[in-house]
Symmetry: C2
Subunit: 296 residues, 2 copies
């Protein structure tokens, strides 16, 4: 794994030689469009619906915005800023419109299935994942500075061309992200542990409070007494349901393994409570208190 | 369950007739001392160590502060602002110093064991639980306004004197808390679900990310990629270990039942992922998204 702090765009690299193409102008695509234009790049975007194109033009999310895939011709780098399901099942007309000489990258939160699908489809595909987001989605969601100081992870393979990888790194640095490279499998396991599985852990908490409250005849009371701790712990479980489902679906193996790992830990804590093993429980919680800053 | 919004102190009730006593000047006791003095009440406090008394005097946490239990003589209402373990195992000299005619209340986060211990000990005991806090503890932790708009739950029993309960309600309203009454068993089950069990759920997440990351050879990567979602979900698991242990210990039955309830929900979500039941998973996550605002 390598890492380097993103620097502000210098405007001198290969990235500036030709327009950057964006496929999709939702939260990630729209935010990229705004930041890349601000960095002095020409940005061309392909969107699905004419209505989206109109609104995206009003918001000036790119210099040229069209529903015709021909808009991507001439681009040196094209970012597939599509939801995972559409990325894994790309329409034929999109594939036909991607220039063979362009570098293609994606922004999907799972990397192995994306590589399996896209490496055979395009000779200059680079898998990547900017780890930034908000609770918003769609053409209204894009905003300036979304990627600043956030990790942008690339997962190159033996067949990734170094020049193609360098171009994606330039893109990440143009939006002031923090560049990281790692193996796709390690990425998928890591995001299962720190992002995809926690959604289910947090969702189960909401359901347990609801169901357990009802079972105890305290459905109203649990709602009245829930405080900031519960609000924090339940936040991602109450987030975007489509996104949570897509993550579990596209990273199924790693998510199931992460849940297994999680159940193991919870089971051990539960056993300590059952056995009145209070000093041992306190030791485990002290370990957790020491662990958490490492993740912040 | 009854509820009423706390009003600012009026200075006209029985609470103002005699000094209020505090046993302990940590986060809860210290904050009470500051707010009650600001509401025009005379506050007398008993602390364990002379060093604590000195610092508490510097911070003006009460009008009179002493390590001699005699400081509580003459108080009409005494708040036992002690950690749960000391509350459940009170020293003989404290018991001897509590005036029989005073109303005694506590601030413990579990109510059934407190009632079992204290109802036989004092004729005018009222169990209560202000649901407010910060991550801090000790004589430096107390602060103004901690209880404002937060629930203050009382769990009266058949033997609770109405006048004693009313005095504690006056106290809660003097610090602008929101007054609630419910059965002790319902309180303990509710806090197990929304506060005590979630500590363990959140702690297990930290351990799973750590252990799972190591197992995948991605120990550094999980730390680099963890973002605000992980930070929120792991916050209470990385909190005060003594407090987390005490809650599990003093509310053991309800906490184990809440974990059982939680495991059931997580197991159901896991089964949906295993069975590729994506529309059903999305439906569950949509339900969670709708549930969460009810708890905020």
């Amino acid at each position: 794994m390598t890492s380097s702090q993103g620097e502000p765009a210098q405007g001198t690299g290969a990235l500036h030689e030709r327009p950057v193409g964006l496929v999709g102008l939702g939260l990630i695509g729209g935010s990229l469009g705004l930041d890349l234009q601000a960095a002095g790049l020409e940005v061309r975007a392909l969107v699905h619906r004419e209505r989206t194109a109109e609104r995206a033009r009003e918001r000036q999310l790119a210099n040229r915005i069209d529903t015709d895939p021909a808009v991507l011709q001439g681009c040196g780098l094209i970012v597939l800023a599509l939801p995972l399901d559409r990325l894994l099942d790309p329409p034929t007309e999109l594939l036909a419109a991607l220039p063979r000489e362009a570098v293609i990258t994606d922004v999907g939160s799972v990397k192995r299935p994306v590589l399996e699908r896209w490496e055979p489809l395009h000779p200059r595909f680079v898998a990547s994942h900017p780890m930034a987001g908000t609770a918003e989605a769609g053409v209204e969601a894009g905003l300036r500075g979304l990627f600043a100081s956030r990790p942008w992870v690339a997962t190159p393979t033996a067949s990734t061309a170094p020049a193609a990888l360098a171009l994606v790194q330039e893109l990440a640095q143009a939006v002031r992200a923090q560049w990281l490279c790692c193996a796709a499998a390690a990425h998928d396991q890591a995001v299962a542990l720190i992002s995809h599985m926690p959604v289910l852990v947090s969702a189960a908490l909401l359901e347990a409070a609801d169901q357990g409250g009802q079972a105890a005849g305290a459905g109203a009371l649990v709602r009245q007494l829930a405080s900031s701790g519960f609000a924090d712990t339940s936040r991602i479980g109450g987030g975007n349901p489509e996104l949570g489902t897509l993550m579990a679906r596209c990273n199924q193996g790693a998510v199931l393994e992460a849940i297994r790992q999680y159940r193991q830990q919870l089971g051990e804590l539960e056993a300590l409570v059952e056995r009145n093993a209070w000093p041992a429980l306190q030791q485990r919680l002290e370990h957790c208190q020491a662990l958490r800053p490492e993740f912040l």
